[in-house]
Subunit: 495 residues, 2 copies
């Protein structure tokens, strides 16, 4: 095992005896995203009613309808991908019997300190699932007998439980994590397991595009992979404060678990062999990433694909024309029935309605008053660019359709551009910390040796070498030892 | 509180120290449904891969893909109903802090013995949710301030946890129960709460039709309702052994919880008032009911609406015509793309394929061999009636569509007929037990007084007076005291 290096700030032990969270919500969005991202995120998640963090159990929160709807749209998209590719949905119980939790000591060492224990009042014989392996794999060993039982390709979407001791943050690090999918597969050969990982990459590409986020993908250093595994790929997303967030991993488990859980099959020659396994998973951090990346000082900017309300119609009226304008707004809502449209009919000022539509990140706002009625137009406000334009009423369906697609693409492009801008190639050791202090990610040449890994981290306290680029580069010199290498790696501060 | 009467057999305390469940699956369906329903149910749930009951935690099981798919189709249907009616989906944490669990003593008395406790290794400060009230209602009291916050109408679909001491049975009584929906609403007036219950009935009518089960609906005796509640309606479904299964309740909670959890609003006059609440819920027992009612000695009979595979094509070939027939089967699958169709291409005998298609309850089986090819027909086998017919190939889409609709309707009608046949009007006390012993439900006149309730149950050991018919009947005499009443009630053996 490699030594652990201290991470920058924030990662302090939590004090569980501290006062209960305040029961008062923030009154308005006062934190600026560029200046104080953690506070901005905390305020906006509550103000836009993504979650309610005032629940009485520390770092467990209530998913509000507006936020849960977004999360379920993401979940629905992954369900479609997985089913289309023949991965079957199942459900495994919440309780992990101690015997199975301890069956793989590498897993157990990673989770035993973070277990929520459960059972009858006076005997807590179980831990609540932190991950699925020890509930799933004992069943795998019952189900798999011969080659015809392979491949076994299943997933479940559940909430998982970890008693986190690091500082918790909603949608980023929670003690109740979910909804979280886990795909687990078993194969007859190593090659089949590798193909499964390739498929997982394809499906993930689609999911990231769906939520308009471009992640960084890396190959983990081999000593950071699960013991006995063949390797692990990992997604990281860029947070507005320049830190990176681990956001789903694709693990080629090799035969490490098969040997612990005795998952074997008889091949066509009658020989008993251990299966080859993969597992992948992710969940609420998808939503955390897209909300963190796209919001601004006015509030959220929600990608059209996941927006519970894609189009909000705000009627602008006075006493005289109220009926006429509301009536027209309802007609327009009907015309736009193929989109998720609502009319804001609340008894509130127009200013307040505009403020809230921006706070909540509604992708497209349609403003409809006397002027628009006379000109047979509708004023459209794009939340992402905050620009206004006029749609001809006769072209409305087409214009709205194109606008939502345009916003979705612009958001993805913005994410890709920001990631590209954040990565800076660095040729010498002392520049690594400088780049990180500028909220950027250092891309370095590294020979993949553990010695150099240690050297790089020791002289860059608080930073992490998260892993290697998947593409080999033109040959150059390792930043630590000068040896020739075509391997490039990323160094950043991570959550 | 009314005394508890002993129920017939089976409800013995479970011995938790008994041997682990056998790890061997039944080899084939040997139990007859009409002779030994519990054993039939246990065999068929495992053989048709609805669940796997070999999980290492007692009365927690694995949902297999075939079974979970059915359950999710039911869930999807209720999601659609709830959303269409403006009920918003949320998610509340799993852990109930002791403080809130104990806030309503009636609730706590009902669940404290059945709690799974949880927490850090040495301090179990929480119980896992047995129902949603104590996690939800502290939040309701934060959210509800004025009349404009009402009605509050939300639901969540989750797994819930009860340490059942009665005998457990998958899909009927489990320690991990789910997926289970709970709708919880809060209203400004009692009338609004009553309207919500009316809407719940409408939505439930649709859900029962969807799964092809006709339930009995009763009004609970007032002393069996939650303390302080206005009343409760309850669905019961008929099990093949004549017992009835409690299958979802519609609870008009009145202000009982509002007062315990301090859920108040200021009305337009500025006065503080407690809200009026309702809650309803159900889950896996929907699936339990439809599978229990419709199966037969050949296996499951799955309603087309919830069938993962609605149509199974079985190609019948020899070495010479194999390619031609498989090719044709694939063409037919494409033609039927709007249905859930699969081809059984396994290397198995036709007999075994037929056996499995019936065991798994596939609604419609299409048989395709040389004869069919020559005649331009397809042989169709209806699982529910076990009758065969020939479809003209040119009419196939229309015939399959009509057949699936017909099967769905026939199954619902069968359920309604069986329920009707099971209910027998009984005029004198000693016939009640006789009717129950014939696997039927006694319908009696009862004056609604507690004295008579006691008398009826005392002389019919093991039976329950589950509640009253919603419709008032023509006046007659109470079976116990002879007083005039137009209230009819049901007496049966219940799960």
């Amino acid at each position: 095992m490699k030594p652990k290096y201290k991470k920058i700030d924030e990662e302090k032990e939590e004090n569980d005896d501290e006062d209960e969270e305040s029961l008062i919500l923030p009154a308005s969005l006062t934190a600026k995203k560029s200046e104080d991202f953690p506070n901005w995120m905390s305020q906006i998640l509550q103000l836009a009613r993504i979650i309610d963090n005032r629940f009485a159990v520390k770092s467990m929160f209530v998913w509000m309808p507006y936020g849960y709807d977004m999360m379920l749209r993401i979940k629905n998209f992954w369900d479609i991908q997985f089913r289309k590719n023949g991965i079957k949905e199942m459900y495994f119980p919440l309780l992990v019997p101690m015997k199975y939790a301890q069956q793989n000591d590498t897993w157990w060492n990673g989770f035993k300190e973070q277990g929520f224990w459960a059972g009858q009042k006076d005997k807590t014989d179980f831990i609540l699932r932190p991950t699925g392996e020890p509930v799933m794999y004992p069943m795998f060993s019952l189900w798999i007998r011969g080659a015809s039982d392979l491949p076994l390709r299943i997933y479940e979407t559940v909430f998982s439980y970890r008693y986190e001791t690091k500082q918790t943050r909603p949608l980023i690090r929670d003690r109740e994590i979910g909804p979280w999918y886990e795909i687990h597969t078993a194969h007859a050969t190593k090659e089949d397991a590798e193909k499964e990982i390739e498929l997982a990459k394809v499906m993930n590409d689609l999911i990231w595009d769906f939520i308009a986020v471009k992640p960084l993908m890396i190959k983990k250093p081999k000593w950071e992979c699960f013991a006995g595994a063949e390797g692990a790929l990992e997604y990281y997303t860029l947070m507005p404060n320049g830190r990176v967030l681990e956001n789903g991993s694709l693990n080629n488990l090799g035969q490490a678990y098969a040997k612990k859980f005795n998952i074997k099959f008889r091949d066509h020659t009658g020989q008993e062999k251990y299966v080859w396994q993969t597992c992948t998973g992710n969940g609420e951090r998808y939503l955390g990433a897209t909300l963190a990346q796209h919001g601004d000082d006015f509030g959220l900017v929600v990608a059209p694909n996941i927006a519970p309300i894609q189009v909000l119609i705000i009627p602008i009226y006075n006493k005289e024309n109220k009926e006429k304008i509301i009536d027209k707004a309802r007609k327009i809502k009907n015309i736009l029935h193929e989109f998720r449209v609502e009319i804001d009919e609340k008894e509130e000022s127009i200013g307040s309605k505009f403020y809230n539509s921006e706070l909540n990140g509604i992708p497209l706002r349609l403003e409809l008053g006397e002027k628009e009625l006379n000109q047979k137009t509708i004023t459209a406000f794009f939340r992402n660019s905050r620009k206004k334009t006029a749609f001809k009423e006769s072209d409305l369906v087409k214009e709205v359709d194109l606008s939502l697609k345009k916003i979705q693409l612009e958001m993805l492009q913005k994410s890709a551009d920001e990631l590209k801008a954040a990565v800076v190639e660095v040729k010498n050791m002392k520049d690594i910390s400088k780049i990180a202090s500028e909220r950027k990610i250092a891309k370095i040449y590294w020979c993949e040796e553990a010695d150099c890994y240690d050297k790089i981290l020791k002289s860059n306290e608080g930073l992490e070498l998260i892993g290697s680029d998947l593409k080999k580069a033109e040959e150059s010199s390792c930043i630590a030892c000068g040896r020739k290498t075509s391997n490039q790696a990323y160094v950043a501060s991570s959550y």
